[in-house]
């Protein structure tokens, strides 16, 4: 084995230009592999960060209260069917009993108790319809990272404070410290001070949402106890489909995975990942074909030498090991050079910080270059590529080969 490796190394160093060209070709393939990994991985993370990253991974929503029937049901057939209401009157009680159970589940990184509903924001004569989100102070950034989106003021929701989107602030000419009036759909209103302005970069949240503290929301919606919604964040958002049924079983509440609400997003992310796999597979295939053809050519050129080795007592297995070792060395060298080049080039791109709100850098993540995998796959691919030339060399008739 050691001697076969020596012969393989000598063959590679004897044809320096050919070997360099071959290693360069493999390195290019590896470079593409790494670049694609960093780009697709970064892009996926970017999309996740900007979409599902700000979503609740599991949501427990209070079930809508059935509207009261206007006529007694007994002895009569009810013909009127009314859509379930989503008004904030539906509440989740006794959260203190089940929230510790949810928090203890593996993979749960945080939860947010909320009271949500609709209302109107008024400033002077200006009135805008808004969604009111009541959050626990200190838990503002558990689901959407509100703190990172705040452009003015603070994300901390103090009693009597309200956080509004930048577009809404512009539309109503609002500024930090101003007092506005917020009226809920329950008809209760409160005078609140603008303590923060945020910009998420998407129309709905920036134009139509107002964040208040949970205590303020209780007042606005006349809910002295309970919440309307619990949002749960997971370490791995793809675990939501597994964890949601566990939470349902544990609490008896209707826990829903984000994938039920955003199936199209999930499909898009999976399609993107598959596209990445295909592109990387093509890069790998190019490497395999390149190495195989180069080694076939090299084997053909060295047929007389292989014949001599066989005549001197080298077995078929030895010949195979020599050729396969050449493939492995080319793969390893190409892999190392390609990985180094890939890392070097990726360094020139903006760091992951550019994924954040308000940044416009290319979403290339240097950490997702899959360097080790690229080197390993390339070496393995080159070994596989060398099997055909190796088998062909091992089957050579020494007499015919020497005669050539």
């Amino acid at each position: 084995m050691l001697y076969a490796l020596k012969i393989a190394t000598r063959y590679l160093t004897a044809s320096k230009a050919q070997t360099a060209l071959l290693v360069f070709g493999v390195a290019i393939g590896v470079f593409i592999f790494i670049f694609m990994s960093a780009l697709i991985g970064g892009l996926a993370e970017f999309i996740m960060m900007r979409t599902a990253g700000d979503m609740a991974h599991i949501t427990i929503q209070a079930e809508a209260v059935d509207p009261a029937l206007l006529v007694p049901q007994t002895g009569r057939t009810v013909l009127l069917v009314q859509e379930p209401t989503t008004q904030a009157t539906a509440i989740l009680k006794d959260t203190a009993a089940f929230l510790p159970l949810i928090a203890a589940l593996p993979g749960v990184t945080g939860f947010s108790q909320q009271i949500n509903g609709s209302g109107f924001l008024t400033r002077g004569a200006q009135v805008m319809q808004v969604s009111i989100n009541g959050l626990e102070p200190g838990h503002e950034s558990v689901i959407a990272n509100l703190a990172s989106y705040v452009t003015e003021g603070t994300a901390n929701l103090a009693a009597g404070g309200v956080l509004v989107g930048k577009t809404l602030a512009e539309d109503m000419d609002l500024s930090l410290g101003q007092t506005v009036r917020l009226q809920s759909s329950a008809g209760i209103d409160a005078a609140l001070t603008i303590t923060g302005i945020y910009k998420m970069g998407s129309g709905g949240p920036d134009r139509r949402q107002a964040y208040v503290s949970l205590a303020t929301a209780r007042t606005l919606f006349a809910l002295p106890q309970g919440v309307t919604r619990i949002e749960i964040k997971l370490a791995d958002l793809y675990a939501a489909d597994t964890l949601a049924p566990r939470i349902r079983a544990l609490t008896g509440l209707d826990a829903k995975s984000w994938t039920e609400q955003a199936a199209q997003l999930l499909e898009a992310l999976q399609a993107q990942a598959q596209t990445g796999y295909i592109l990387k597979a093509f890069a790998l295939l190019t490497i395999i074909i390149g190495v195989a053809s180069a080694l076939l050519l090299s084997t053909y050129r060295r047929r007389p030498e292989i014949g001599i080795m066989r005549a001197m007592g080298a077995g078929r297995w030895f010949v195979m090991v020599v050729i396969v070792s050449q493939g492995a060395l080319i793969g390893l060298m190409g892999g190392l050079f390609g990985a180094a080049a890939g890392y070097g080039v990726l360094l020139a791109f903006p760091s992951r910080a550019s994924f954040g709100p308000g940044q416009s850098g290319l979403p290339i993540d240097i950490r997702q270059g899959a360097y080790g995998l690229a080197i390993w796959l390339t070496t393995l691919g080159a070994i596989l590529a060398s099997i055909l030339p190796a088998r062909s060399a091992a089957q050579l008739d020494p007499v015919t080969a020497i005669g050539q």
Binding site: Y3, R310, G313, F318
Partner: protein, 225 residues
């Protein structure tokens, strides 16, 4: 002297049907240990085919082939490769050295390929053979930098590396000038005399044949003299 090898009723045909060519037609031959024999015959007489079969590089179509008491006629490729490595050395007309290796590496090859590495013992033996071939100054030279005669002497040293009982030489001096040819033949004679290695040398050259103690003449696929 004991019988080293024996072939009986050796037949070798190439092709089939109308294109079939019968090169050996029931050839019989026995050689004793320590012989220095010349294999003579016109082109196409079957000399090279006989050497190839004796070198276990090719199976005969029929007949038997034994060497050192081992029946090689139906042995598989692995067994023949091992046997060849241990007991048979080759010297070709065009030296057939490995071009990307030094003289010493070429000489050590038959031992290194068996042992899986170039041992210090193998290197010492290789160096000793090269010194004996008059190539003490060329031990670490790439073979591409050697003259034709020097290359052929390296080839002789390589053939002797594993101390084989039989060395098959196919026109070993055919590509050399007179002086180099004489030098190579002197070395062969010396080794045959001192170590008792059997040599079978295929040649067209009557002068080379005359240096051998036995002349085996092949004609039309048979030993004729």
């Amino acid at each position: 002297m004991t019988v080293l090898l024996e072939v009986r009723d050796l037949v070798k045909t190439f092709g089939s049907g109308e294109a079939e060519t019968r090169v050996l037609r029931g050839l019989n031959l026995a050689m004793q240990t320590g012989e220095l024999a010349a294999l003579l015959g016109p082109s196409g007489s079957g000399k090279s085919t006989l050497l190839t079969i004796l070198g276990t590089l090719m199976h005969p179509t029929s007949g038997s082939h034994t060497m050192l008491g081992v029946d090689l006629t139906t042995a598989n490729d692995r067994a023949l490769t091992e046997f060849r490595n241990l007991h048979i050395g080759f010297v070709f007309q065009f030296h057939n050295l490995l071009p990307d290796f030094t003289a010493l590496e070429n000489v050590c090859f038959p031992t290194a390929v068996r042992e899986g590495r170039e041992t210090a013992t193998a290197r010492a033996r290789g160096q000793e053979l090269l010194v004996r071939m008059g190539l003490a100054e060329r031990v670490h030279f790439p073979t591409a930098n050697l003259s034709g005669g020097q290359k052929q002497r390296v080839a002789v040293a390589r053939a002797l590396m594993n101390r084989p009982e039989l060395v098959l030489a196919d026109e070993p001096t055919g590509n050399l000038d007179r002086a180099s040819a004489a030098q190579v033949m002197d070395l062969i004679g010396e080794i045959n005399h001192e170590e008792g290695t059997t040599f079978l040398i295929s040649t067209h050259d009557e002068k080379i044949a005359a240096l051998c103690r036995r002349q085996i003449v092949v004609g039309d696929g048979l030993v004729t003299g």
